[in-house]
């Protein structure tokens, strides 16, 4: 892969009015047949294609995207990356991803601005603190950095936070993962697109998959808004739209698509240099490199595909942020938006074969899949290439909903992240 993004190239292009830059990714015409087709050019889909090409030597790959690449949840998340999950299966998967994040900028030659500024998950009740303790201990035994802090220790690290005992949900402590942080969401999509394209992957934007051609329980091809494409392997990575794709394949998924909203403040001078999340008050906040506070709200309880949610959810989140940081009351919201998240009953993803041969699903990341982007792509590529799960995603089958072997991460996943 060519690694031509560097300070030197930038300087030399600067002298030439930047007219020598070439497309970050190619936009080829769609071909009539591919070895593997990935549906959905979100971060996960693009990462899958990248690792398929890079690690499994498959070259004839297309990624089909109904809109613009990276325009789904990848474009609208609050970019929190962490791996402090409770159960071994989840923790190992997210930790695998976190490790990939740590080398991603270099690997794909694109600065994804992965910023390990640490993440605090606040505890406000005795039970929160028990859960934090349980999770931190599990993390440590799994080799994941995490620590439990008391309220004063939280205050020492985040001087702005209100730890007064008089609040409705006094802060009793937190779990803290130092290696966790945030990344630049768009750069992740663009960087993977560029890297995959460099390996020969065709990324086809404005190409919607409308039907699946399945014969004798084997995928044969896809009907798209740009015509029919034949293929024997399809990886479906369509996040909020996974149920729609599943329907096209004649299967049902344990998914509900809900609106999840977020908002940003106006740009401010640096004031918060870490990430703060609280399930009890329902809000989480970090400050981006550009200066705006990036704030995540909760999901709306109803299902929706409209990419917008109800205002009372945003209002509640603003109140939650003020509860934690009373000085932010005069800070103003600049823009709010919503995404469509595919939630599962156990707050864990599905990375699985299906009963249709050659059709694989990677979905159910719900409110928290951005952090998994490289790891998810990596294990999903393995699953598709080998028709067998990677050991790290073996537990995340569709079948667990029948056997009852759920991996309940509601506590660690919280409202959203």
């Amino acid at each position: 892969m060519k690694k031509d993004y560097s300070i030197w190239k930038l300087l030399s292009q600067g002298l030439k009015h930047h007219e020598g830059w070439t497309p970050a990714w190619r936009s080829p015409e769609v071909k009539s047949s591919y070895d593997v087709v990935i549906i959905g050019a979100g971060g996960h889909g693009l990462a899958t294609a990248y690792y398929l090409a890079k690690e499994h030597g498959i070259k004839n790959i297309a990624v089909l995207e109904k809109g613009y690449l990276g325009g789904g949840n990848t474009a609208r998340n609050t970019t929190i990356v962490r791996s402090n999950y409770l159960w071994d299966e989840a923790a190992m998967l997210y930790e695998h991803s976190l490790k990939l994040w740590e080398g991603l900028t270099e690997d794909i030659n694109y600065n994804v601005m992965f910023s390990q500024r640490g993440v605090f998950n606040l505890g406000h009740t005795l039970q929160d603190m028990r859960d934090i303790e349980r999770r931190v201990n599990a993390n440590n035994l799994n080799g994941i950095d995490a620590m439990a802090l008391n309220a004063q220790e939280v205050k020492d690290r985040i001087p702005m936070i209100n730890i007064s005992k008089d609040t409705r949900f006094p802060i009793m402590g937190a779990s803290f993962q130092p290696r966790a942080g945030v990344a630049r969401h768009d750069a992740v999509a663009w960087g993977f697109a560029r890297a995959a394209s460099n390996y020969g992957v065709d990324i086809i934007e404005n190409c919607e998959v409308t039907a699946m051609d399945i014969v004798n329980s084997q995928i044969k091809g896809l009907q798209t808004s740009k015509g029919y494409i034949s293929t024997s392997k399809v990886g479906c990575v369509t996040a909020g739209h996974s149920s729609v794709m599943a329907k096209a394949a004649g299967i049902r998924m344990p998914l509900e698509s809900h609106p999840l909203q977020a908002f940003v403040s106006e740009s401010l001078k640096p004031i918060l240099d870490t990430v703060v999340m609280s399930n009890a008050v329902h809000g989480y906040v970090s400050q981006s490199d550009k200066g705006e506070l990036v704030i995540g709200a909760g999901i709306d309880h109803y299902t929706s595909y409209a990419q917008r949610g109800s205002p009372h959810v945003i209002e509640h989140t603003a109140a939650a942020i003020i509860e934690l940081f009373p000085m932010f009351s005069r800070v103003r919201m600049n823009r709010q938006w919503g995404g469509i998240v595919d939630t599962t009953p156990d707050a864990c993803p599905i990375i699985s074969k299906t009963k249709v041969k050659g059709l694989y699903f990677n979905c159910g990341w719900g409110t928290g899949g951005f952090k998994a982007t490289p790891g998810s792509g990596n294990v999903f590529a393995h699953t598709i290439a080998h028709d067998e799960p990677h050991p790290l995603n073996a537990a995340f089958t569709l079948d667990r909903f029948h056997t009852g072997h759920l991996i309940d991460e509601h506590g660690a996943a919280g409202v959203a992240h």
Partner: protein, 1010 residues
Amino acid sequence: MSNRINHKNSRVDLNRPLTFTFDGQTYQGFAGDTLASALLANGVKVVARSFKYGRPRGIIGSGAEEPNALVQIDVGARTTPDLKATQVELYDGLVAGRTSGWPSLAFDLKSVGGKFSRFMPAGFYYKTFKWPTKLWPFYEDIIRRAAGYGKSPVEADTETYDHQHHHVDLLVVGGGATGLLAALLAGRSGLKVLLVDDQPELGGYLLSMPNVLIGGVNASTWSANIINELQSLSNVTILSRTTAFALHDMNMIQAVELLQDHLPHAVRKNAQRRERLHRIRASKVVLATGAFERPLVFGNNDLPGIMTASALSTYLNRYGVACGKNAVIMTSNDSAYQGAADLAAAGIVVTIVDTREQINPEWAAKTNQLGIKVYAGYGISEAIGSNAVQGAQLVKLGSLKNVATAKGPYVPCDVLASSGGLSPTVHLFCHDGGRPQWDDARLAFVVSANGRAKDGIFCVGAITGVFALQEGLANTHNTLAELLAGLGKTINSSGLVLETDEISVTPARRIFHVPDGKDGHGAKAFVDFQNDVAATDIHLAVRENYRSIEHIKRYTALGFGTDQGKLSNVNGFAIAAEALGKTIPEVGTTTYRPAYTPVSFGALAGAHVGDTFEPRRYTAMQTTHEQYGAEFEPVGQWMRPWYFPKPGEDIHAAVNRECLATRNSVGMLDASTLGKIDIRGKDVREFLNRIYANAWSQLAVGKCRYGLMLDEAGMVMDDGVTACISDTHFLMTTTSGGAARVMTWLEKWHQTEWPELEVYMTSVTDHWTTAALVGPKSREVLAKLCTDIDLSKDAFKFMDWRDVTVAGVPARVFRISFSGELAYEVNVDASYGDYIWNELMKAGKEFDITPYGTETMHVLRAEKGFIIVGQDTDGSVTPFDLDMAWAVGMKKPYSFLGKRSLARSDTSRTDRKQLVGLLPEDPNVVLKEGAQLINSSDITPPVAMLGHVTSSYHSAFLGRSIAMGFVIDGIKRRDEEGNNIVYAWAEGKAVKVKIVSYVFVDAEGARHNA
């Protein structure tokens, strides 16, 4: 230097001078000024420094569209960042600061780096700062420090906010000429009308064009008449200083009203809000939000002293401020001419650069008459100046194509304005899915008057692309006629003459970016000022294949600022279209999202802060608990006494004392928060059989039973004791936190699946207050106050209940025990809560009765191995995992909720994690709740985890630590000597623990049966 002129129609009151400071300097303005107009009047040109390159910036606009003049208002707890100077009303004593420029506005260090702006095009950071990887945090720190405008307050906000809900027939957004007319026509028809406008004064752009005659009277008289009539209508409400910032499904509009920010501190009232968020549910909405003039894009177009043509004329006409003495106005259309004429009339030297070769003959005559020089067929390729504009370099434009055919003259000036046409304010229209249409004749994204009539949304005036006032008033009239007809009402426009004396409009030139004659390599031409996005950045994005307009936006940050691209977006779309070789409608717009203009978090939160952030529910005994000095623990919404420390006691001392007192004599707990549901009907037993895992067919009247409730996945979701009051009447109790959920659960199953079962349920949680009298002396205490029944061991047995009188109050007493002690739960009408508690305390005095809280309750129940749902369960635990097969009636005929799931292959495994008791080897070590259990003390991750500690306490009664927790195969291991040792791991330490039975005290039940 003062640029103030005594303009006859100006809205400022020159008799009311006000003093204010900006960036440390003191200035004078007048009532009616905005901070921006006052600064301009004082000749202040540079008000900010640009985001990326540190370039000096001045005021461009006159309202919500302003991208540059972001200021910090006030100090201390009231300091507010990033307000637009164009929207800040001046008051006496206002303190404003800059939000950019370090060390000063005059010299910004960033501008040094800005000299190398050629190396910092859009998205440069994605290509660099990568090497070496470990220096990224250092690079990032520099980036962060360079970023950001104003400063967040660091003190808690001292002002307050609230929400108000409105339900109206019609909401009119915008109080310009067309909005006022719409409100009046609707108001006359009797509709309940709400009119909101974001400015302090109604009139909209009319305030900037005071000389136009409407129906023969001047604009200010015209609007004053309408406003007067509106104010006389009781069905019309007007909210000024109120911005509608979001439109949601089914016409729910959020609007924020500024109530005090415009007032001098001394007259602000503590009882009044700073801001109020109005939530307006409107059957119909009329959007009369007007339009913003967009500037043309040209070299150095960001120099201070460059503004939009309408801002220039607004400052003149509305505020009496001449922004210069020598003005150059570039335009592609007719709209700038009136302002130019007004300036000339005010004695300012005006030059017009019209990009059209053919100019409106009427205006040609008029400009000639006023001595305005017009360059037709020219554009400005570059503004000249360093800290302020000093002149304009003209180019001759091709007559068909937007190319520079020749260099034009240089025109000196001290203010430069441009007009590229109007961009309708379509934001609200688009928030919930509406889409504007490109109108190629009007060169604008417009919405049609009845574009969303089926949703009840109508549009009037400039938002529809109708830019001439007379036409706009006519379209308002017609649209309102249609709207009212749809409601069966007729329009009444009597006395309204809607003709104006405007000069009729001729076509505009289609131009957005004036060519520089240097292949675009000339001076930087900015599209988005706030984010330093130049035309070249858009071209670069396209070159690099960021071709979707959404990619262009995200790659360049076009429209990402606090102005959300009000001036820049359409220019950006047009330049992108050119670079892509597409038409503007093919490129489309980016998504419009709330907020139209920024809204404070405080306003969003409203009254949901402090004491009223979330409800706190208290029991009827709260006053007493406070008197006894309780510390409280939130349990769901409830506040429960946690422990009752005596002076000098910490939690441990208090809990030890409470535990011992209870086990040895008598203690008392407020158990009122438990959910209580009264269930009646002939099918109540069957209903309970289906809802609970246990069987209820045989429970005798007068008896109670513990029940386990499972969800359909077979996991324990709640528990509690349920009493049989009669064959058709049961009283269920639930956990404190689970009460509402259980009530809904019961109703849902009854209403949806089993409507045939004759049962009704009613929550009586709040009706009963419960004092649990616990301990060996509890019978004696109760006996002192309850004399109407025989309390003896055999007359009133364990798990019986009785209706009695306690301390003269009717009571229902349950002989049940969550502590393993002899215990009575005394339930009375909650009105007697405080009374009964005190009477029992008095009666128990001789036994040193001790009130205790949830912490002691937890210790006592753990000594008995009783679970707490939510602490010892986590939604993944079956009754079998809890070793509670005894509470599962597998033989019941109906497949009770959750039963089938218990037989799934995973849930029926026998080697699942099971609840066991745990005894630390060292009795003085209290395990950490949440400690993980492992097989060996040898830690090299990853270590296999067997389960975890759910409950752990020091038991004062046993004189040692005890715990409960889950262990894989725990029940088997418990009984295997040699296999019953595990390690509890927490805080970096492994503690040796023995697996034992979870019943630590009185396994035979002698105490509770006493």
